[in-house]
C-alpha cells in the first residue's frame, strides 16, 4: 500500500471510472487498473465492483475510501507545508537579539516580515548574551543577532560577522554645537547624553580616547532601547545621542538632526554578528531574516555619512 495507490483509488471512487480516473492522476488507464488491483490484493478484498459503466464501491471500498481520502489529503498538506517552510515563506523562528542590534534591527525587521512574509512568525528573545547563547544551544532560539564582541570564542557556534557600523554623536540641527567648526570633546561633554546601553568595550574606547571624563556612566542622562524615542528627544532638546549613526539616517538626511564629529575622531564602531549553531540546518525563514539584516546594514553603510 502506498500513497500513489490511495490517490488512485480516491480518483477512481470520485470518477467511478478507471479511464477517467487515469486521466485525473495522469497515468495510463492500464497502470491505474493495476494499481487498484495491487491495492485490492494487499487488502485482501475487491474495493470496486467492475460493472460496465459506473463502477460501484464495495462495502470495504466505502470504508477504505474515507480513510484513504484523509490520508491523501494529509500527505498533500505535509508536502505543502514543507514546501512553504523550505521556501522560507512560512514558519516560526525565535531570534535572540542583543539590545544594541535590537535598537537598529527590531522594528525594521518586524515591519519587513509583516509586509513581505506574513506567514513567518517572529519571536524576539532578549536577555544577556550568555543566556541567549544558552537558548541557542538548547534550540530555543534559531539564531542570534548580537554584538560581536560579546561572544566568547567557542567552536560550536557559527558566526557571520556583519559589516561594522560607525557609531557617533548626533544632535539637533539647531543645537549650539551644530555649527561649531572645530569641536572638542569637552564641548560635547557639557551636554547631557542619551543612548542605548553602552557596552564595556565602547566605554573603554571612549575613555582611552578622551580621558576619564568620557566615562559614559555619569554622563548618561537618559538610556533606552527605544532608539526612535531617543532621537525624538534629541530633536527636541540639546541632549546628544550616542549610538549607531545609521539609526538616525533618515533624520540626518532630511536635516532635522546633525552628526557631531569631535576632534579627535572617536572611531567608535558597532559590529554585529549573526550567530547560529554549527552543523544545524538553518530555517529558511531564518535566512530571510539574515538576508534582511545584511541588507539593512549594507543600506546603512551606503547611506552613511563618511568620516571626515
Amino acid at each position: 500500500m502506498n500513497l500513489q495507490q490511495l490517490h488512485h483509488f480516491v480518483a477512481l471512487a470520485d470518477t467511478r471510472s478507471f479511464s477517467r480516473a487515469s486521466e485525473v492522476v495522469h497515468v495510463t488507464q492500464s497502470a491505474l487498473s493495476r494499481s487498484i488491483q495491487m491495492l485490492e490484493q494487499e487488502l485482501g478484498m475487491p474495493l470496486v465492483d467492475r460493472i460496465g459503466k459506473s463502477n460501484e464501491l464495495t462495502p470495504l471500498g466505502t470504508q477504505v475510501l474515507a480513510r484513504a481520502r484523509h490520508i491523501v489529503q494529509e500527505a498533500a498538506e505535509l508536502r505543502r507545508a514543507a514546501t512553504l517552510m523550505a521556501g522560507g515563506a512560512a514558519g516560526t523562528i525565535a531570534l535572540g537579539m542583543g539590545s544594541a542590534p535590537g535598537a537598529l534591527f527590531a522594528a525594521p525587521l518586524m515591519t519587513h516580515l509583516l509586509r513581505s512574509h506574513p506567514q513567518v512568525q517572529l519571536r524576539l528573545l532578549g536577555g544577556a548574551p550568555e543566556l541567549q547563547i544558552a537558548q541557542l544551544r538548547a534550540r530555543q532560539a534559531d539564531g542570534l543577532v548580537i554584538t560581536y564582541r560579546a561572544l566568547p570564542p567557542v567552536d560550536d557556534l557559527q558566526f557571520e560577522v556583519l559589516p561594522a557600523l560607525r557609531s557617533g554623536f548626533v544632535c539637533r540641527t539647531r543645537h549650539p554645537l551644530a555649527q561649531r567648526p572645530r569641536l572638542r570633546f569637552e564641548d560635547l561633554r557639557a551636554y547631557p547624553l542619551v543612548c542605548t546601553q553602552v557596552s564595556d568595550d565602547a566605554a573603554r574606547t571612549l575613555i582611552e580616547r578622551y580621558g576619564e571624563r568620557a566615562h559614559p556612566q555619569p554622563w548618561i542622562q537618559a538610556a533606552s532601547e527605544d532608539v526612535g524615542a531617543l532621537l525624538r528627544t534629541v530633536a527636541a532638546t540639546d541632549a546628544v545621542f550616542l549610538g549607531v549613526v545609521a539609526a538616525a539616517r533618515a533624520q540626518l538626511a532630511e536635516g532635522g538632526l546633525h552628526e557631531l564629529m569631535p576632534t579627535p575622531d572617536a572611531k567608535l564602531q558597532a559590529q554585529f554578528a549573526f550567530v547560529t549553531l554549527k552543523g544545524r540546518a538553518e530555517s529558511p525563514a531564518l535566512q530571510v531574516v539574515r538576508d534582511f539584516c545584511r541588507s539593512l546594514v549594507r543600506d546603512a553603510l551606503a547611506g552613511q555619512i563618511p568620516p571626515p
Copy 2:
C-alpha cells in the same frame, strides 16, 4: 514521498539514530539513510541534523514529524480495518430477511454473531420481498434471506438456494392426537392452528392435498413471527403449530413436543434462498452470515425426523 519514507522518518525521530531506526523498520542502515535523504531531497530541506550520536530534528523536521506520525498511524489503521473486514471479523451488514426464514434464522444468527463475531454489526431489514429486492439493488441491503418462491426470475440477482426444510404440524406430547396411530386431516382440522405467515404457495399446496377445508385463512387462530412464542403456546394448549419442523427441533428431541403426520403426507416444504446482487463483491461478514445460515439448515436437516 511515500508511506515507507514517512515510517522510516518517524522511526528515526523516535530513536534519534539511523542505525537503531534501521533495526526498528527492518532495513539496513544504509537503506534507511537513503530513504531519509530522498525524503529530504523531495521536501527541499534537511529534516535532521546529523551530529555524531543523538541526531536532532531540524525545525522543518519537527513540523513534518507530527504530520508524518499521523499519516503513518492512519495508514496502519486503514490496513487493520481492511484486514478485519476482509477476514469477516468486522463490518456492518444489512440483511433483508423474509418473515418465514426470519422465524428460523433471526435469533440464532444474532446470537451467533454476538458470540463469535462481536465486531460485526447486523441490521435486519423486513418488508415485502419486492421491497427487499429493491433495497438490495439500491445496495441498502447486502443480501437477502428469503423464501425462494417469492423471487421473480430476474438475472441481476444471484440465488443460492438453501436445502429445503420440511414443514409440518407440531403439537404437545400430551395432545389428544399425539398418540393416534393413523391421523386424518379432518382430525387435525378440529384443533386451532398457530403459525407464522403462511405463503400463498403453501396455502395452495394444503388445499390441493386436503381440500378447501385446509385453507389456512379461517383456520389460523394465532399468527406471529415469534416462533418461540408459538411453540410455547403449543406446549401449553391443544393448538397445532404449522411451520418448519426444524424450528421445534429442541423441544421435539426432549419430548415436550410431537410432530403430527396426517395421512396423506402434506409434503410441505420451506425452501429459502440466499440472494445477493450479481457481480458485486460480497462483504466477508456476509459470507459469515451465509455460512451460518447454511450450517443452520444443515443441522436442522441432520436432526430432522425423517418422513415415514
